[in-house]
């Protein structure tokens, strides 16, 4: 079975934030929630690189391990999903996540958090709602994956920097690029997420 992954080719990313916008539009994410973001390293210096980052759908996902109500799980395709019906908004998944993926709407007292929201790989949610149903869309966003499509962010990427799909396939695409152009700054996050590098 295919193991879904993201790969951002930082040597192609131009910090246009189209992936961020595509994600927000496709999933109708509320204000203040950023399932995907672009971080620029060495901004304004030689060797500046931008990396688009969201949930990496880690192997042995740390968020799922630390969740006190065990509401996060991994599908057979390697996609990490969660149930907003079970989430209690404790914020522990954010401390464990190496990529700052979990997001929380600010509700209630103090800095307390509402139900966690994060990238679903455009694969619907981990709750009891029927796949592709309006109820699921309202809670988790699009279920493109169920329609056989890849996440909107990667599909929209203007420079084909952000790759989504079977981990082996996108790793091969990136390897070919690196050998053809002669350089590459690495598959950002892969070492931490999948314990492997390209």
């Amino acid at each position: 079975m295919a193991r879904m992954k993201f790969l951002c080719d930082a040597d192609r990313c131009i910090d246009c934030n189209a992936c961020v916008t595509a994600c927000k539009n496709e999933n109708e994410v509320p204000w203040g929630i950023n399932r995907r973001r672009v971080v620029t390293i060495n901004d304004g210096k030689p060797g500046e690189r931008s990396v688009s980052m969201a949930c990496m759908h880690c192997t042995d996902a740390p968020c799922a391990a630390v969740c006190p109500v065990e509401c996060i799980f991994q599908t057979d395709d390697g996609i990490v999903l969660h149930s907003k019906d079970l989430c209690i908004g404790c914020g522990y998944c954010f401390y464990a996540c190496p990529f700052g993926a979990p997001q929380y709407p600010r509700v209630g007292n103090f800095g307390s958090r509402g139900k966690m929201d994060k990238c679903t790989y455009c694969a619907g949610g981990g709750g009891p709602e029927a796949p592709g149903s309006p109820a699921e869309f309202a809670k988790y966003g699009s279920d493109r994956f169920g329609e056989g499509k890849l996440p909107m962010c990667a599909e929209m990427c203007s420079t084909k920097s952000l790759l989504a799909g079977d981990g082996e396939v996108i790793a091969k695409i990136y390897e070919d690029r690196v050998s053809q152009r002669g350089y590459g700054s690495g598959a950002w996050g892969w070492l931490t997420a999948y314990n492997e590098d390209v």
Partner: protein, 339 residues
Amino acid sequence: MTTILARIRLVLLASVLLALAGAIPSVAQQLGPDGAPNPTASVPNQRTLLQEVPRIEGRIDIPDEKAAVLIQPMGRVWEYFHEVTLHWVGAVVILGTIAALAVAYLIIGRVRISAGRSGRKVSRFTPFERFAHWLTAVSFVILGLTGLNITFGKIVLLPVMAADAFSDFSQAMKYIHNFTSFAFVVGLVLIGVIWLKDNLPSKVDVEWLKQGGGFIKSKHAPAGRFNAGEKLVFWFALGAGVAVVVSGYLLLFPFYATNIAGMQVAQVVHAVIAVLFIAIILGHIYIGTLGMEGAFEAMATGEVDLNWAKEHHDLWLAEQLAKAQREGSPEKPSPTPAE
């Protein structure tokens, strides 16, 4: 003479400049082997960066500073602490304490008032002191149980509960934990203020510790209003209380005052101190109830038996009786003023 000095100065200046030039990293564009500009020469490499810094950070376009952290592998370290270290340490320390107390009860048993009850009562704690104690005590027990649920609930309760029922329960526990914290802070401050004076170390504490406290039945170690054991519990509770309160409010107001590393440290401090706190308080509860005859009534009614006071707090009792005599009411000595 002046020329020699000038030359030395010149040499010194030149060497300083040379050292500076060596220290400044080259920021000029580097060239590839064929002489063409190398587009990747100064590009940060993920592996190198991760070896150099604990977190890879950059600039972010959205108004969310914590989103500027791109990769923080420490998340996995924190996960290991939370899922392995904390589970083992917490279980061993808390269950170990309960086991140790059970053994103590089986071997030593309940420490009786050896002279029996006299029937005469001595005031030990004012109503205000008891209020401060019970405010702290009740909020501590609530905080302890609701806190343990976050760490151990999924191991102990989730297997025997429906997933959504456990989620609703944990959500309620979370809110109770957050709000009860304020009562605990008030109790902690009150306790710290009203009992500080009586808990300052004194010479008699050394003697009390040498004699093994009240645990050797044949002996009654000398003590003032609080014995050395109680003083240790007081200072531990005050120190640990401040630590859990500070780390707890950092967690309650996430990212207001600290970054991701600070949040992880705050959680570790909160959890470790809380586990030790629970263990110490289990011992405190044991001695105050099962472990010693005549001790619980001090906090329940505010009065203790004269013989209990004689055996456990002889110096304090003498003081109280002397004071009562001066005030002309030998029957019922008044308690120590709270201030």
